[in-house]
């Protein structure tokens, strides 16, 4: 039995200050007088208590690149970051394009037991954009999100067929939007900084043209569509319009895109290299606004571990992506000063709905699943070392506000902050 005392609790009836009692894998009471003693006591005074966080976008590197991360180390990082479920992207080695591979990922996650690891399926075989992957097998194995993440499904005809094939299957197609012709193998945002540094730039339009095109296909097919890691003001506007027109569209943003802009690349530190790249201060402002007003449904980390030796190279030669699981809470609160209700909507309720996870993202009430997180929204801290196997974080040494105090998965404490 766990008692979480005195926190500000996200319940179906709004935010209330209450004690939460967990027994087995359920919340057994909210607000009733708790038992005088419990096996585990968590003092949540001044803290937010809510459903465990759900990350729609992580790269756990298993199978195939375990020197960067594996499901055990990634789960550890997820628990420390307040997550009780993460969606693992399929760009592993081999690619998750067959049912048994998806099943392996999910089962490894259960065995580790620190966080539910939900496999996303590849949209095309080998993520090569040529033939659809074994979608039925993948659905049977639990995949609900389909994506060639890391690459864009460029072939509009194939994307249309995928949308039509998956219609009515309670699945969503997620796109990493980056037109390869416009992107021209760019290393950073195309703008004043890339011009000065002499680095090939990746224009905002590379993202926006793909999203605009895909939205026309959504209109045609009616298929649910999710935009991964939105990075530009133009994409936000496209999503706003599509939602206004009633299209089944959702979108996520990565915490680093809420905090940093392309001027950080002047340091030429590979920890600021990611795709999509850091954009302009105007884009950052628009993304923050979109998180708060709900145009962007979810914050998702795009946690992308790379080993130290892979980062010890010039910026242009560095691999793509940065880790984010353990800094998502602090980065989001620091960047947006978001209130508790919207925080849990963006980091738990909405992502759980998009990933079709019934046991996650459930407001805390009697009988709800004991997947919970306790967050101190005012704690100030500076990340120095991570549970993730890799340390490639742009937040190293940066002051953040908002810290995870405890994470509970099915009634078991998976993380507790040691003071």
């Amino acid at each position: 039995m766990i008692v979480i005392r005195g926190g500000s609790v996200f319940t179906p009836d709004g935010i209330v200050t209450a004690d939460v009692v967990v027994d087995g894998d359920r919340v057994v009471s909210v607000g009733d007088p708790p038992p005088p003693t419990a096996l585990i006591e968590i003092d949540a005074t001044g803290c937010w208590v809510g459903p465990g966080l759900v990350d729609l976008h992580v790269h756990l590197r298993e199978p195939g690149q375990e020197w960067k991360e594996d499901i055990a180390s990634g789960s550890r990082a997820a628990a420390a970051g307040g997550f009780t479920a993460v969606v693992a992207m399929p760009n592993t080695v081999p690619v998750i394009d067959e049912g048994h591979r998806a099943r392996f990922v999910g089962e490894r996650g259960l065995k580790v037991g620190l966080c539910d690891v939900v496999p996303a399926g590849a949209l095309t075989l080998g993520r090569e954009g040529q033939h659809l992957a074994h979608l039925d097998e993948l659905i049977e194995a639990g995949a609900r999100i389909f994506t060639d993440d890391g690459d864009t499904l460029v072939d509009a005809g194939l994307l249309r067929r995928a949308m039509e094939y998956l219609a009515g299957r309670d699945c969503v197609i997620a796109q990493h939007a980056e037109d390869p012709g416009l992107a021209e193998d760019g290393h950073m945002h195309e703008g004043s900084v890339s011009s000065r540094l002499g680095m090939r730039g990746l224009p905002a339009l590379a993202e926006e043209t793909i999203v605009a095109r895909d939205l026309a296909l959504v209109e045609l097919t009616g298929a649910p569509y999710h935009v991964q890691h939105v990075s530009t003001a133009g994409t936000v506007e496209l999503i706003r319009q599509a939602k206004g027109a009633g299209l089944p569209v959702t979108a996520e943003v990565a915490p680093h895109h809420l905090v940093f802009d392309h001027r950080e690349v002047e340091s030429m530190d590979p920890n600021f290299k990611m795709y999509p790249p850091l954009r302009t201060p105007d884009d950052v402002a628009e993304l923050r606004k979109a998180v708060l007003d709900g145009t962007i449904d979810a914050v998702a980390t795009d946690h992308a571990p790379h080993a130290d030796h892979e980062q010890e190279v010039p910026f242009e030669e560095a691999p793509r992506g940065v880790i984010g699981l353990e800094t998502a809470v602090g980065a989001t609160i620091t960047a947006t000063d978001i209130d508790q209700r919207r925080f849990f909507e963006r980091l738990s309720i909405n992502p759980a709905r998009i990933a079709r996870l019934g046991e996650h993202g459930v407001p805390v009430t009697e009988g709800s699943p004991a997947n919970l997180v306790v967050i101190d929204p005012t704690a100030v801290w500076t990340p120095e070392r991570f549970h993730s196997r890799s340390q490639n974080s742009p937040f190293l040494g940066r002051k953040l506000t908002g810290k995870v105090r405890a994470t509970i998965l099915r009634g078991r404490l998976t993380h507790r902050e040691t003071e």
């Binding site: 195309e190 703008g191 004043s192 890339s194 011009s195 000065r196 540094l197 002499g198 680095m199 090939r200 730039g201 030429m268 030796h309 010890e312 190279v313 010039p314 910026f315 242009e316 030669e317």
Partner: protein, 306 residues
Amino acid sequence: MRHLLTIEGMSRADLEDLLDLADEFVDVLDRPIPKVPTLRGATVATLFFEPSTRTRLSFERAARALSADVLTFAPGTSSVTKGESLKDTALTLRAMGADLMVVRHSATGAAHRVAQWVDVPVINGGDGAHQHPTQAILDALTLRRHFGKLDGLHVGIVGDIRHSRVARSGLQAFSTLGARVTLIAPPTLLPLDMTDWPVEVANDFDEVLPHLDVVYLLRIQQERGGTTGFTSLPEYVRRFGLDDSRFARLRPEAVVMHPGPMNRGVEISPHVADSSRTLILDQVRNGVAARMAVLFRLLASPGAER
């Protein structure tokens, strides 16, 4: 000065100090025995990860003229082909006793990275399309020795500016020293965003040509994608090549410069290349003195590392 990584941020006084010092080394190089003992016992390592002849030889000549020893690293014959990283190569040369490293690399920021890993001064010998600071200093030296000063000079940089580190560092040095800089290229060979750059931009070479004091020609950087910036080589030459008829329309006192290697018949006609109004060989000669000045400042000045 701890390292020389970029011209950006250098003041007029910083640059003039190096030019004054370089002037003295030009005189040294004119002596019957063109050598001074200043850096005896010091070791200068050149780490060139990109093919180069003149820059590496120029640095090595400069180091020897200051009596330093030279460690030459060339990737074609080295452990890089066995997978050794930039970091390990730098640490290895440091362990062998390098007191200063000159780094050339195809990636932006490579020399900056090396400067984070080693505890000796690093000179950026050219990083990607970013910076080539010693080229900027030797070019400024060449112009100052020819014209007396850069103030008021109108310098036109012509060609593949988008992919050129020579242009990026050069325009900063020239404008800091008082010159007016015009970049001349098709839009596809210009940087995409030049907000706040101290330059003017022209797409029509013929229009600007009669107003220039200096025509600074660049080659097309094929290895960085320069050929995607125009339709065909003959069309490029027709619009932006310094051919004989354009050369004839230059102001009588105007000069022609080129950082090398030249592509005769492309950006420069053979006749122009061989004309007495080019400063191209002066640039090469002054390059040694300019690099001596930089080595001296980093290794032998008060407060320098040694």
